[in-house]
Symmetry: C2
Subunit: 145 residues, 2 copies
DNA sequence: ATTTATACTCACCAAAAAGAGAGCGTAGAC
DNA sequence: GTCTACGCTCTCTTTTTGGTGAGTATAAAT
């Protein structure tokens, strides 16, 4: 997947610019806990997928998202979108028509998170084979001790 | 936490160098599935924490890891470490003494994954406040429609 | 009159993940 | 002789997660 390229160089550059701003060493355990918690909220499978899709296609309707992802249940989709909205990653726009029309789009924050995840996607793409090899050799080691 | 700084600039530079190698657009659905799967295996809470700790302190014993993390159960720690070993992120060294001594250390692969996650930690650090604010306003919107 | 589309919510159930606590084998300290 | 340390594993129970299928409101199309 060209996940690596769904975010423009500018996004990524922005993410790195932020990293330069970060104070050199701060180890407040409260901050640490918050950061962990935040990542826990934000770094799940569905969130990452939706981030990707919205970055790729811009504003998208509920049912379209549902169809594109294919394997997600309505329940999970709603739930994930609500969490994302709460965390400021997407904006939900309701058009008061009937049948209902609701669009979801990434915010700046959502976009920047997508850029941050980029590194992980790239890592996965580049290291698929290494991991695969490692698994094989692990299984062999386990087989004959 | 200065999570951002547990990985040296060289590691991060290496991660970006990889990104430059990535072919511009490749959307093989099989690769896509594999990448997703891999991220699913690798991007969980405990793995990320252990990656951090090992990057920070180098080779560490089981009980030390357990104590440092504090909130992890032995079961989860063992399980996570096994998965990481299988995926080639850590090496497990058994010293045949009694009482047992087992050390865990990051591999190159583990180190590079840590570097990739760096962007996400940095994002979380930098955007804690934005997320917090967004949550507050979301709750307010929910309260009075 | 019936069907269709949309974006949900709700109640229920099954499966998966995670925590708690006990046990184990053995060497050295007391 | 008993206790402790270490790195687990095993079983049992609880919690969390996620899927399923039904229901809702309403206007337009058939």
């Amino acid at each position: 997947m060209s996940t690596a390229h769904r975010f423009t160089p500018e996004h990524i550059a922005r993410a790195h610019a932020q990293s330069a701003q970060t104070p050199p060493a701060e180890t407040d355990p409260r901050v640490e806990a918050l950061v962990r918690d935040l990542i826990g909220c934000v770094a799940d499978k569905w969130t990452m997928l939706i981030l990707e899709l919205l970055a790729e296609q811009g504003a998208t309707r509920f049912t379209q998202l549902n169809r594109r992802i294919g394997t997600i249940s309505q329940k999970m989709l709603t739930q994930t979108l609500r969490h994302m909205e709460r965390n400021g990653l997407v904006i939900r726009t309701v058009h008061p028509v009937v049948p209902p029309k609701v669009e979801y789009a990434l915010t700046e924050l959502g976009l920047s998170l997508g850029a941050a995840f980029c590194g992980v996607w790239i890592w996965a793409e580049n290291n698929l084979d290494a991991v695969e090899a490692s698994r094989k050799s692990f299984e062999n080691r386990a087989a004959e001790p």
